[in-house]
Structures are given as C-alpha cells and as structure tokens.
Symmetry: C2
Subunit: 467 residues, 2 copies
C-alpha cells in the first residue's frame, strides 16, 4: 500500500474550494475578455535553450526539467551532455515572447492577449510559496511602437476584475522608472547600473524601512552623498490620494527638475496614464501614485504597477507589472515593446483563505432531486432532465436512502434547492421545493418548475423575502 500524497509545494483544493477558485478564474477571464484581450495557451514545457536564453543563474537553478525514460537513460550514459532538452515554464512572459516571435506574421499588432495557466519553480517549498501556481497575465504587444495610453488599459481591467472579485477595497499603485531614473540623473547619478541598483534598493522600502535603505544608499557599495540619499528618500515617500494630487505631484517633480529629459518623459507618460484612467471611468480612490514602487526586474523600462488590498496591506502586491521596451529580442529582430500585468492567483487564493475571505458555501450544483421511492425514479429522472435543459445544474440521487440524510447531504454540500417528487407530488402534478438557504419550502406545478426556480436563482440571497 502506497501512501497517497501530493508532491511538495503544490496547492490542491477540495471541491468546495475548487469551486471558489474557479469562480475567481472566471471573473478574471471575463474581465480580460470584456477589455478585448484574446486568449492563448502555451505548452507547460519549452525547449530548454528557448526557455533559458535570457535568464541568469538564479532562474536556471529554479527551473524544473522534463525528461522521458529514454532521455534519462541517455543522460546517464553521457553525463557531460548538459541540461535536459525540455523544461517547465517558470512564468508566462518567456512563453509569450516565444509565441509572439514564432507566430509574428499571423498575429495583428497591437496584440492583446491574456493567458491563465500554471507555472513551475523548483524553489524550496515554503508556507504560501508554491512550486506550481496559476498566473493570470495580460499583455499588449506593439510592433516598433506602442503609445503610453496602453499603459492605462492594464490597470483599468485590473480595476474591473478586483471590483468584481469583491474582496474589499484595493488600490492600483503607479510609478514610472523613467521618472525615477531621470530624478537620479538630476542628482548626478548618471551611471545606468548605479540607477538600477538604487531602484532595487528603493523597492525594498516597505520591507527594510527608510533608515536601513538610507544606510545602504550612502554605504560603501553605492556611495551616494547624504544630500542625494535624502532626495531619493524624499521622492520615494510620495503617495497621492486623489487624481488632482497625483497631477500636482507630477507638476512639482517636473518643476523641480534640473532638466533631465528622461524625467520629463516619465512625467508625460504617467500624466497620460492618469488621464486615460480617468477617461475610462476608473474612480480616483482606486488608483494612486506611489514613487516607491520600482519592481526588482530590470526588464521594466517605464510605467510600473502594484496592487494592494487596502484592508490587508500585509498580503503585499496582489497584481503587478509594467512596461518593457522589447519583449522578444532574443528570438526576433522585430522590436516588440509591451506592457502587462499579472495576478498570481494561487498565492492570492491561499492568502485570502488564510484571512478567511474565501466564500466556499455555494456548490455549482443548484438543485438536488432526492429519491423518496424507487418507483418514482423515472419521474425524478425526467424532472432532472427538464431542469438541466433549463440550464439548471442538477444532481439526482440514484441510490436512495432516508430523505433526512439526503437533505443533510444537500445542506453540507452547499446545494441550495431540493426538488421533492414523492407519492403526493406525483399525484397532484406538483413538485415541493425546499430552499435550504432561506429555510422555507413551497410547491410549484410540475410544468412550471424551470421558470419558478430561475426566478428564485436570479434573486439576490441577502434580501429578505417579501411574503
């Protein structure tokens, strides 16, 4: 006998949780589609040399490789042959780059795609950190150019999705790496590597605190002057609380600039993003400038985003992303600038569940048809068929048992309605409906059960009934 167990670092859900997870996936997909993004899926694994072109040593150490028995035998016979031929994707960005470069001539640009699949990282499993997890990405890829207006579309769709997910108030926080680097330029920090190093330090502000960051900035490695460190820390303290205030911050930063073109470009880009966000009707309470958001990845070159839950700052960013200059330079000579955001859904779900914010009360099954008397099974089956053809998710009890036990099962499983067809009902041409949520019951004519249940299902549950 082998002990049944899941592999370490994977998140496997019970059906009620899976239903809640699936509903989140559906909300995300629906949001992406409403904003005109097209679906793609890529294989779970890529050819190793395609996957690992861009990456450094750390990513390669986290890659999970794939090998058939035959490949394992070959590798054992020739240990110097190098890495296995195939490897599981560690994000959806590299597969997107490969996809766009491979199918470039069959796609229309700007190419707006969404992709919701699992990715794999061979890191040490930790609480809430998974080796297999869902990412739900959107990206807009231009050919040769892509206006900054597109940088407003990602936060707008994310706004729609987080509103629909109904997990509490949230803020999409915006910054721009050109603005940051231009500001550093004005401070005399013109070395590009140094700018990137400073950005990476600043990105740790929330974790390490301003004092620790200051010490690093003026320390031996970076060597900023006290004045420069002060100025950097002053900038990264900026947060806006309204649309007007955000514009005013940009005006001030530009007004105080010593002439960096990069800063002026960053300000102009952020201004355009803010304008389009407002024109798209995103409420100003739901977005803000936050000049401490730098994103660790050097990949980003302009707008950067993070999204936080206002009531759960401890969760950190639940949706991040940004603008990049060239998606697929390793695969194609075409210049493909883009902008994107990503929701790490497995981690978000796990955190919401930890915080007690996942609703698992309602099954996908809407009606249970219990079995009172085997003699009426044909009528029960016909009833179930009518309900199903009416679009209502229905389970029929085929094995019988006590009604009380069947009702208890429905209640525990989160099935809201029970449609009872016993001796009496069959005689009268009716069905007795029990509403287990509202704890009441009523009788409907057998012919009218589908419209009657549709009306019930369409009503919001929280309202008291008016009978």
């Amino acid at each position: 006998m082998i002990k049944p167990r899941t592999a370490p670092g994977t998140l496997e859900l019970l059906p009620t949780e899976q239903i809640a997870f699936q509903r989140m996936l559906d909300v995300i997909r629906s949001g992406y589609e409403r904003f005109g993004f097209l679906p793609i899926e890529t294989p779970a694994y890529e050819v190793t040399d395609v996957l690992l072109t861009k990456t450094g040593g750390e990513t390669e150490r986290q890659v999970l490789f794939v090998q058939s028995t035959g490949a394992l035998e070959k590798a054992a016979a020739n240990p110097a042959a190098g890495l296995p031929d195939l490897a599981l994707r560690f994000d959806l960005t590299v597969p997107l780059a490969r996809y766009v470069a491979e199918h470039e001539h069959q796609l229309t640009f700007p190419f707006r795609r969404y992709q919701m699949q699992r990715v794999y990282r061979g890191e040490r499993p930790q609480r809430g950190r998974f080796r297999e997890f869902y990412q739900c990405d959107i990206d807009i890829i231009g050919k040769d150019g892509l206006s900054s207006r597109h940088d407003a579309e990602c936060p707008a769709v994310i706004h729609t999705i987080f509103t629909d997910l109904a997990i509490g108030p949230f803020t999409v926080q915006l910054n721009n790496r050109k603005l940051m680097r231009g500001y550093f330029e004005d401070l005399g920090l013109t070395d590009a590597d140094l700018q990137v190093t400073v950005l990476r330090e600043v990105d740790k502000l929330d974790k390490r605190g301003a004092d620790a960051i200051r010490q690093t900035l003026v320390g031996e490695g970076l060597g900023l002057s006290e004045e420069a460190a002060d100025a950097v820390l002053a900038l990264v303290a900026v947060r806006s609380t309204s649309h007007q205030e955000a514009l005013a911050h940009l005006d001030r930063v530009l007004g105080e600039s010593r002439g960096s073109e990069l800063l002026a470009t960053g300000v102009a880009e952020l201004r355009e993003v803010l304008t389009v966000l407002r024109d798209l009707g995103v409420p100003e309470s739901d977005y803000a400038l936050n000049f401490s958001i730098a994103r660790g990845l050097d990949y980003y070159t302009g707008t950067v985003y993070e999204t936080t839950l206002d009531d759960h700052p401890e969760i950190g960013s639940v949706c991040s992303g940004g603008r990049y200059d060239d998606l697929a330079g390793q695969y194609t000579k075409s210049t493909l600038p883009g902008v994107g955001m990503s929701i790490g859904l497995s981690r978000l779900f796990w955190q919401l569940r930890e915080a007690g914010l996942v609703q698992t009360a309602e099954s996908t099954v809407q009606v249970l048809v219990p079995q009172l008397d085997e003699a009426h099974l044909p009528q029960c089956l016909a009833l179930a068929t009518d309900l199903r053809q009416g679009g209502i998710n229905t389970e029929v009890v085929l094995d019988g048992g006590k009604l009380g036990k069947q009702l208890k099962y429905a209640d525990r499983a989160g099935i809201r309605f029970v449609a009872i067809l016993g001796e009496q009902e069959v005689g009268a041409g009716t069905v007795t409906i029990k509403d287990l949520r509202r704890q009441d019951q009523f009788s409907v004519a057998r012919d009218e059960i589908v419209p009657a249940l549709r009306v019930e299902l369409a009503q919001p549950l929280d309202l008291p009934r008016d009978d």
Copy 2:
C-alpha cells in the same frame, strides 16, 4: 538569436483557434456541471512512487519525469539512485485515485467529479498524437457499492455535451465486459486470463477485420475451437439500431445462455443502463449496443463505452470509458467502485480542424471602437466603459490610423460590430454601428447603445433581417 519554436508533440493554437477550443472546453464544463459533477484540479506532477504503483513497463517508458537543477546534480553524482522523485501525470485517473484516497474523509460518496486538465506522455510524437493533451473526465465514485444506474449518467451527460458541441450526429455505443466474459464462460472459455486476451483481440475488430481476428482466436496462442471462434465473432457483430432492438438483443443473448451468472449480471446491468438512459430522455437514435466494444484496459469490469461521430467513423472513438470495481486499491483499504468517461479534447479538436469542422470566424471581442479623431478619444473611452459595464466585450483603438484599416482589422479578427464616434456622432449624441457580418449599418442614440447592441447580439446570425 535563438529560433523560437514549441517543443515537439505539443499543440499550440493561434488566438482564433484558441477561442474555438475554449468554447468547446466551456461547453464540456457546462455539461458536466449541469449534471451535478463537481470540479477538481490536481498538480501536473505526482510523486513518482505514487504515480507508478499500478502501471506496467510500457506506461513507465512513456512517463515524463520532472527534476530541479539540484536533483539533476544529485542524480549525476549517484547514478544508481533510481528514478527521479516527480513525474508528470499520464492520465487523470491515477491522480483521481490518489485524490480520492488522500481526501477520502473530506469527500461525500458517491463522489461525482469532473476534471479538465492536460496530461503528458513521453511517446514518439506523430501526426495528431500529442505528448501534451487535454483530457476532460467525469467519474462517479462510490464507497463499497455504486448501483448500475450511475452507468447511465455518464453517457447521458456526454450526449448533452456532444449535442451542444454541434459537430454532427454521434452515437454512444455500449457494451458490458461481464456479458462478454459470461458468454465466453458459456463457450467453455473459463480461464480469466484467456477471457481478457480474447477481449483484447475483439477490441481490434474494426482495425483488423473479422477474418484476421478469427485466425488469431483459433491460432496457437489462444487455441479456440472453430465453433467457439464462430460464436465469439457472431456476438461481436451485434449492433442495435433502436431501444427495443437493444432490449431484444439482450433477451436473446440471455435466452441462449447456458447459465453463466456473469452473463446474466451483465445483461441486467446493460438493461438498467438502457432504461435509465431512456428515462433521462436521451433519444434512442443516439445510443446503441455494440458488442465489439471491449476496451483494451483490464481495469474495466462492467459497462464500457465508446462514442463515434456518425459522419466521421474514421476519427474513431471521441469519448470512451467504463465501469471499474476498485479505483484506489493501491492507496486505501476502502473499496471504491466507479464509472467514468473521458473526452480527449486536443486530439478531437485537431481531428475536427483537419476535417474542416472547427469554426474560427468569431472573436471573443464583440465591438471595436475605432479612433477617427484623437480629440474624441475621451468620448471613445467612455463609450467603451459603458459597453464593458453592459457586459459587452470591447476593444478601443488607442493609436489611431485610417478608418478603413481599422475596419479591415475588425473584419479579419472576427469582431462583428464597430461602434463609430466621429465629429458628426458626437455632435448629434449618436453612435454609428457597423455590423460587419450582415454588412449593414445603423445609428443609435448614445444612451441606448448597450440595450441596442444586446438585442443585436442576442439575435441568431443566420436569419435574414426583416427590414
């Protein structure tokens, strides 16, 4: 520069194809849910000793193993350590067995689950045979027992799904391995191993033809008498063309039996399946007895199914499955009988595409808002927001360009409506709608665009308009 390419044996789709594929997934999922099946997902890989308990050498040779860089290094240092710790699932049945055994005490039985995920096989890639492909499975798992009535639920839901997929007429074909083995018993073929071998031969009837099968049956290895071989071939030639005829075939087989209890049980089970199928309202034209269906896998013990497209017999079975006595004997002492069916969607999609049966004309994007004049971008953005809030999938052109080019893009991309907001429309408070499918256009008040488009989208496209 690295050549962008997908790994061998994977099926990657362009967005229009992905939309068609996703629609098939949605139809399948909706069908499974309508019949009261609950969703689960399992990790892509399992612990190797959990995955490979039951399987023989052939399956193990097809398994794809997963290893981190660290594990590769360890394996290189100790080549005798055996197989890698993790392996990708090769079907959804073994993960289901592991899931049910692992979570047994948190599940309610009969446990009705659906699962739609990719599986992996390290076989040599061939045309239309993939190493990574979707399986869409349903199973009903009982504890200690599960009545044969459940064997009718799988073909009933498959019937609903193939009806909704609208890929032409199809037949769910039924048989029962107890009936077959009981019939062999009556012929004096009482050895269980011999029975299984004969079943496996019979399963090749369509491929090899009756003459070749007869030669194998009477040949050295199996050694059936001419009479026994004749009787076997007479049985497997049986097909029903109506419900009554199916019942008559069962009566005849039972009447001619020399008393095998196994045969009587098989007949009773099939009779119950047929009865419940009829009571569930499945049209008799869509199911049939076919006594040549044996399924190669010894795993199956009772009812077995295959589904064929009537107009495309060359495709073979597009959905198969059956009844098994014990799902998870390798993981738990509990006896878990079950019944299930599986749609191999990647292969089905590929075959439908080859046959020209995949409809890729319609985008998920329903409306394009083109950009005529940058000055009206705010109005265009507000229009898009209204459409999106009205549940209509909308793309806005943010970068401008000639209207003709924008219309051509919409047409090629399969976007049906274009909502034009130019100087004139803004002045008049209207929007001009172009219907690219019907090739006409009309004007609506700006305030009424959402209900107007909803009406258009709700109308079937094939009907001529009555204006």
